[in-house]
């Protein structure tokens, strides 16, 4: 599964790599990397980005 690893200051989030998450990350100043993780990985939510 493809996810965004989002990084801001000392915080790290993993969210599903969707357009909504992409723009939410941009809007809120998160840097990102695209990572592959196991399908059963528990992810953060869009609310966590905001």
């Amino acid at each position: 599964m493809q996810v965004f690893k989002l990084i801001k200051e000392d915080k790290v989030l993993y969210v599903d790599a969707t357009p909504k998450a992409y723009y939410a990350a941009l809007n809120n100043g998160w840097a990102y990397e695209i990572n592959e993780v196991a399908d059963d990985t528990i992810l953060n939510t869009l609310e966590d980005i905001n």
Partner: protein, 380 residues
């Protein structure tokens, strides 16, 4: 057959007596050159002139009942706005600006549309889905086929034609920083095997036939440029290494592309397409989350916010006098805007569709807008 509408429209303009024949680009020409784009600018400077009396006041709500979480829209020659959502539905909305009615069309799968293209050569609308492009014929309002994203990834962006209307262009957005091209004559697509140099957001064709695309989160360039005639990737200089910066540009009749800031940037830039350079047009604007821009019938650039961090304002920029004004709008999450044949500016998101109503539009401007409905597919 497909060019009959062009001749009809041109006869209407001649009958109306304005503007003079020969000013407008010959729309029956599939392959444009700088001659046609310069004609566009000349025509626009005659009818979209700042101070021409056109006014936009408060917004009005056109509909609150669009289907799906709409996020993208495009106007076709037939006066209809094709509006699609970002996920979860296969239904698109078709808003008819001629009679203010909505109809829906069910596609063969869900849309994933953050960008849509109308092509006046084929009269079709191209709508992103999950790894595929839906092709909808606006003459019949039916889906005619699908085209696979040649890059193979789920999400991608689509951009207008360059000089040759046979082709529209796209990128792999944040998943694959590569350009691709759709051949609208046979509904095939192929990678150009040219890197974009970073994430790519919304884009528009410049007067030189190149595609100008705002850089996204993984980019250190304000604007990426596809030189469609080579083809090759280029950049706009003069904006510094600004990540997450710009995603909305519009052609102005003065020959420059204007872009309003998004995601951390703060300035309005004008871009000179003759040398791919950018110059600050206005610094330190307060509203720096602009998702879409459009040239109004009054010659001003209208920008709409696209973030919870944006304001509930349309940003109205007069590039001639360097004046920025605001019109209150009900939301701040807009990704598309169009101008119809009456000069009204439509924009929407989710189930909602709004417009800024144009008043006091001169007859020559109205006539021009009617013809330009087909042109905006190339030079929005």
């Amino acid at each position: 057959m497909i060019f009959q509408n062009f001749g009809f429209n041109r006869q209407l303009i001649k009958a109306a007596g304005a503007p003079a024949a020969g000013i407008f680009p010959d729309q029956s020409t599939k392959v444009w050159t700088s001659t046609e784009t310069d004609q566009w600018l000349t025509a626009a400077s005659n009818v979209f002139t700042i101070g021409n009396g056109v006014t936009y006041s408060s917004y009005s709500t056109v509909s609150t009942a669009l289907t799906g979480n709409t996020i993208a829209g495009v106007l076709a020659r037939n006066g209809k706005i094709y509006i699609a959502g970002d996920s979860g539905t296969s239904t698109i909305n078709i808003w008819n600006t001629n009679n203010n009615t909505n109809s829906t069309l069910s596609l063969s799968g869900n849309t994933q549309a953050y960008s849509m293209v109308y092509n006046d050569y084929t009269k079709c609308v191209y709508i992103p889905g999950n790894g595929i492009i839906y092709v909808v014929d606006t003459l019949t309002d039916t889906q005619v086929t699908t085209i696979s994203n040649p890059l193979g990834n789920s999400y991608f962006q689509l951009y207008s034609s360059g000089y040759d209307a046979q082709y529209i262009y796209g990128t792999g957005w944040f998943q694959n920083n590569t350009w691709f091209r759709v051949d609208c004559s046979n509904n095939t697509a192929a990678s150009l095997s040219i890197g974009t140099g970073g994430d790519t957001l919304n884009g528009v064709m410049g007067r030189n036939g190149k595609i100008y695309v705002g850089g996204g989160g993984g980019s250190t360039n304000g604007y990426h440029v596809l030189n469609t005639s080579v083809p090759q990737n280029e950049y706009v200089s003069g904006m510094g290494n600004i990540s997450d910066s710009y995603r909305a540009a519009a052609n102005h009749y003065n020959g420059y592309l204007y872009t309003m800031p998004a995601y951390g940037a703060s300035k309005i830039y004008l871009m000179d397409t003759s040398n791919n350079s950018a110059t600050e047009a206005r610094g330190a604007v307060t509203d720096n989350r602009i998702g879409t821009t459009i040239l109004g019938a009054d010659g001003q650039i209208y920008g709409f916010g696209n973030s919870a961090n944006a304001s509930n304002n349309a940003n109205v920029y007069d590039p001639v006098n360097d004046v920025l004004n605001y019109i209150t709008v009900p939301q701040r999450d807009f990704n598309w805007s169009v101008i119809d044949a009456n000069g009204h500016i439509y924009f929407g998101q989710g189930g909602n569709l709004y417009k800024l109503t144009a008043s006091n539009v001169p007859s020559a401007t109205l006539t021009a807008l009617a013809e330009m409905n087909g042109i905006i597919a190339r030079m929005r």
